[in-house]
Each structure stands twice: as C-alpha cells, then as structure tokens.
Symmetry: C2
Subunit: 376 residues, 2 copies
C-alpha cells in the first residue's frame, strides 16, 4: 500500500523474463510500437509518446528542459515536495518562475491560477503537478486550464507521475501539450519506465530548440521513432515488456472500470480510516484519489507504527516527506488496489493502533468501508 | 552474440522476480549497499559509486555534465560513433574540445595523446572511450594516462560502457577520476542500470559545482547515499536485483578468470573467423576484446547475411554504424561468452556464407579456434 512503487501483478513480473532482444531489430519495433500505441490509449491522446528508461523524475526533467529556456515566464502552483522539485527544475533553466504557493494539503484554486494568467499575459508555460505525492492532494480543474493557456498560446504541462491511470486524464480533450508519468504508480508496472506525451506544437518547438542534453533530448527520440521505430539509446528491455503487459491488463479491464475502482477504493479508505478515528491531512476538496495521507494521532511514533504494521501485518505504508516527517503517513491507493486491499489495510492499521494502546473504532471503520465498496 | 545488450544468464533474469520493495526501507538499504560494494570490487576501486537507472548514455552524460563547464579545455580521442557522441556531449557544455581524430578502426596513439597534453598545459580533463563499440577498437594505454593528467591535476574520465568487466580496468591503480559503464555489456545484466565511479577529487568538484539538472546531478546521489544509503529517485528495482546477481556471479567466477575467458574467446573468434576467410575491420594492435568487427566479403548483403544467420542458426550479430552500415558486421564477445558460443558462432557464420554461395574454409576456422580455446 505504498504511494509507489506499488504492487506489480504476477503477469507483469513474468513479462520481464522475455529473452533480451536486439534493440535494433524487428522484434523491438513490434514491442515498442505496441508500447507507444497502448500508452496513447491510456493517455487518451494521439500525440507522440516517448517511453524513457528512467524514473519519473527523469520524465519530469525532460518535460522541463525541452521546453523552458532562460528568462521564460512560467506559472506553477507549489504546495509540496514534488511541485517544489518541479519549480526548482524550471528555475534551474534560468526561467522567471511565478510560484502560486499554498500550504501543504491545500491546492491553489482555479481562480488563483486565472489571476496569475490575468497578471502575466506574456507567460510561456503553465506547469502543474496533478497529484502531490508528498501531501496527498490532487488538482481538480485540469479540464479548464487550457482556457487560460490558449489565450496567448502558452504550453500546458502536467506532471501526473503519481496519478495517471488512476483517474481519467484525457490529454487531447484537455489540450495538454506535455504530460509525464511513471510506470510504478497507478499503471502498476515496476519502476524504471517513464512515458511522456508531446503535442504537435510542443514537438515542433522541441525540435527547433533542442536542449544541451543527449539522454533527455526528446527531439532525438522523435527522430529515431520516425526513422525506424527505435529508441536512440538501449532501452531497459525487461521493464518495457513489463510496462506493456501492465498497459494490456488495464485496457483489458477497461479504463472506465479502472478509474471507478480507484475512486471507490479511495473513498472507502478515506471514510473507513476516518471512522476508526484518524483524520486525513489534505483539505477535503483537494484530496488525492491515489495517495491517502493521514495525520498521526497525538504521540504516535512514526517508525514504531510503520514497523509494526509491516512486521505483524505485512502492510507497507510510507511516512511523511520533509517537514511532514513524523506528522503524517501515506497509504497508496493505486494500481491493482481492490476491496481486499482496502479492508485488509483498514483492519491492519486499526489493529496496529490498538496494539500501540490507542482506542480505535475498528468496527465502524470496516463497516463504513464495506458500505462504500458496494459501489463497485 | 550482439555487441550488447548481451545474453543474460537465467539466474540473473530470475532475480528480477523479487517483490517490488519500498525504496525508502531497510530492505532497499541492504540491496543498494550490496550493489555499491560489489560494483566497487568489479571497478577495482574504493571510490564512490552511483548506479543510475538509465542506459549507458545516461551515465556518460552524467560523467560529462557534472564536470565540464563553459570554456573548459578538454582532450578526447575520436574515431567512431560513441567517441563522437561523447565529444558532442562535451561540446554541448560550451567546452573547448580538442579532438584527436583518427580513422575508424584505428586509435590515437599514446604519443599523440601526450603531444596534445604537451601543447595544452591548461587542459581541465581528458575523456576517452575505452572501447569503441561502433568499430571494434580498444584503447590499450589507459594505465599510462594519469602520468599526463597528473601534470596539471586534470580530471581523467573513462567511458568503458562496452568493456568494463571484460578486461581488467583497475580504476584506483590507474587514477581514473570518473569511470562509466552499462550493465548490459560485459557485466551480463539487462540494460537499464549504468554504474559510475567518482574519485574524491571529482566528487568534491561536483558537490561544489552542481549542474543545472536533477536526474543526473551526482551530488544529489552522494548526499542521499551518505544520509541513508538511498537513491534520490525511485530506482529501477528489478534491474538493480538483476545487476546485483550478475555482479555476484562474476565475483564467484573470479575477476581474473572472467578476464581470461573474454580474452581467449576473443582471440579464438578473431583467428577462427580470419581462418574461414574474413578480415577484421580494426587495426591489429587496436582490436577490441569485446567487439569483433569484420569486413563484409565483396558483394555480401548485410541484411540477407544477418537474417539468414538469425533465422537458420539463431545467432544474432549486429550490422555497422553510420558510414560503416553494410560494410562491416559486429560480433559481441562479452558477458557469459564461452567456448560453446565461439565454436557455434564460427560454424554458423561459415555455414551462412556457404549458403549464400561464398567459399569459406570452415574446417580451418574451427580448428584454429579450438586450438586457441585450449588456453582456457
């Protein structure tokens, strides 16, 4: 129940055992074309796809350095570790970063974003972290952002590393120029492959203004793909096989069913854990579907709690990040998450709290969750 | 028999099936510490190690952007695709690149390198591709280079992506500041993990002068490792398990035995394939141990030859790169390469040539190879 890397189904793990092939062969062309096509389906896009052999941060960095140059004006909401990292990456390019800062657990509102656009008619790009893994918040107005970016043709970039696949993120419908994710979150593949989608407009810009990098120079990937459906550098083959299998499983289940499963399990976790006596960290309207962050009860020791949960019940959750270390813990609700995972997690957390001397209402928690799960 | 990615032993493939763990846990600390320690043994170094989740080019890029700044003077021998890429990466930083260019298949001599140092007493770094995968050459004087770099305390950087593990490359003894390799070559692991070693001097420089990148900022990796033995970003866990297993197998066999096996198999391939009537592409004294590049016989079609070899005999070799496309083919001799691979490859190549109407001396080739293999 980690906020990523998440559980990987056996079918996906076994896909890694395919023999190592020549990455300059027809076998590879078949594999990689399939990866690209299935990624397009999951991203709901016709845009170009690059599946980078790197972790999510690699794709996020590629999404920045291929678009942002010195003195470019960029708007970005910041309210946690990952949005902060993203803004650092943008600032690292020498850009003029307009940060919309809000307290952790709370998102900038759409009106605040709109105000920033109203005050900056020369903005080149809007970057946003869809789902802030460090605090368990999720931005809910991504469908409306292109009303703002379209005013002056600004690029619209979404870092959805810890959410894409868990909720509907229709890249084309919402006019998202660049969208990045990681395989090890809602897509339920092992870490190490990070796909990125690029609109025709952004692609043109990237080809005409390549960054001083090689590994993350997306123009190079477009060129190789168009020429031969290869990647410029030796890709992490076993992980590509696994990632393809994970996408296949998602498409077999059906995207709408996958989204609904995430939503219902998430609702059940929030309400069940609240009923046993815990409080979610994030503001209600900003709560993430894939990361359930909860405040520790008074005096509860982070390490003891998580160690007990892991050792006695084999349920892994994550601690807090940075300033939130020791103050919150985070439960992942993504990938193959199912009613079983939800019920078992609530039960194990409740039992761990009881073992540590806290009074919890296990019965209420389980009953509430069970009720919610009936929506599936 | 590809020049990488190479065959991966089953034991290594199966290691990927270990369950996905939390990369912020004690289990990860155990895994990654072991990876670092075993990498140190194979690199013959006490230097810091970073195992990047990226392909070889990623590690090579990290080895450049963490050390080279605008206007730095850098000497680099160039004679093929990969040394050319490396010099492009260096030039991309705005450096003043002194290229020692030689024809493909032939290395700059030590005297030419020395002359470049004599003429440039303000050089900041010497970069060299140990083994030029595109042409099958290998540099044989890496043991003497630090006599030159030590004159003015220049950095000494070796890109040994396609060779480290196949010959002895004692990083500490030869005073190599930064050394990069890829897991999918002589180390016989799947592609996607690329280790890099960094000397105390280079590390100090990198920490004081971090590059404007996040994913390849090595200072960040040093910091995380020192603080918690973690990596800053979610690593490609299954590949780390596989890479560790590959290192374990190498250390069990013994490094000297591994080097000897590579050398003897390589000698047998060169002499056996020469005896059947082919000629190696590279100049004799510069020939690579891990990549045997051979000239095509007059009129021999690259695609037909390699397709027949693959389809009839299930032996995969690679074609030529860039200008050498259609002119040479390349046989990998690395990783788990053994007398069986050598004999079978010579037999299959000889049979393919015969099927295509060429007269070859299969008997002489096999006999010569068998003789050479007696040294094992």
């Amino acid at each position: 129940m980690l906020p990523g890397p998440t559980n990987v189904p056996n079918r996906v793990m076994r896909a890694m055992l395919a023999p190592i092939i020549n990455h300059r062969s027809d076998d590879f062309v078949e594999l990689y074309s399939d990866v690209v096509e299935k990624t397009q389906q999951v991203f709901q896009t016709q845009n170009d796809i690059v599946a980078l052999s790197a972790s999510g941060t690699g794709a996020v960095e590629a999404g920045v350095i291929n678009l942002i140059k010195k003195d470019d004006k960029v708007i970005i909401p910041v309210n946690g570790e990952f949005s902060n990292r993203l803004s650092q990456l943008i600032a690292g390019q020498g850009a003029n970063v307009i940060k919309l800062e809000t307290p952790p657990g709370q998102n900038a509102t759409f009106d605040q974003v709109k105000e920033a656009f109203d005050n900056n008619n020369d903005v080149k790009a809007f970057y946003v972290v869809h789902n802030e893994t460090s605090t368990g918040t999720m931005v809910n107005y991504l469908d409306r952002v292109s009303d703002l970016t379209s005013r002056n043709d600004a690029f619209y970039v979404v870092d959805s590393v810890s959410l894409l696949g868990g909720v509907s993120l229709p890249v084309d419908k919402w006019n998202i120029d660049v969208c990045m994710t990681g395989a090890q979150k809602a897509l339920a593949a092992p870490p190490g492959i990070s796909p990125i989608s690029v609109s025709a407009k952004a692609k043109k810009y990237m080809i005409e203004n390549p960054p001083p990098t090689m590994y993350f120079n997306l123009a190079r990937y477009f060129h190789y793909y168009e020429e031969s459906k290869h990647t410029p550098f030796t890709p992490a083959l076993p992980l590509l096989y696994a990632y393809r299998e994970a996408l296949t499983i998602m498409l077999e289940e059906g995207l709408e069913t996958v989204y609904k499963r995430h939503k219902v399990c998430s609702d059940a976790l929030y309400s069940g854990l609240s009923a046993i006596g815990l409080t979610p960290f994030a503001k209600e309207e900003d709560r993430s579907i894939s990361i359930v962050a909860l405040n520790y009860l008074e005096g509860l020791q982070d390490k003891t709690f998580r160690d007990t949960l892991a050792q006695k019940f084999k349920v892994l959750v994550a601690g807090g990040f940075g300033d939130l270390k020791g103050k919150v813990f985070r439960v992942g609700c993504m990938g193959e998450v199912s009613p079983y995972h939800v019920m078992r997690t609530i039960s194990a957390i409740s039992s761990t709290l009881a073992m540590m001397g806290y009074e919890t209402n296990a019965q209420a928690g389980l009953k509430t969750a069970e009720e919610k799960l009936k929506d599936l």
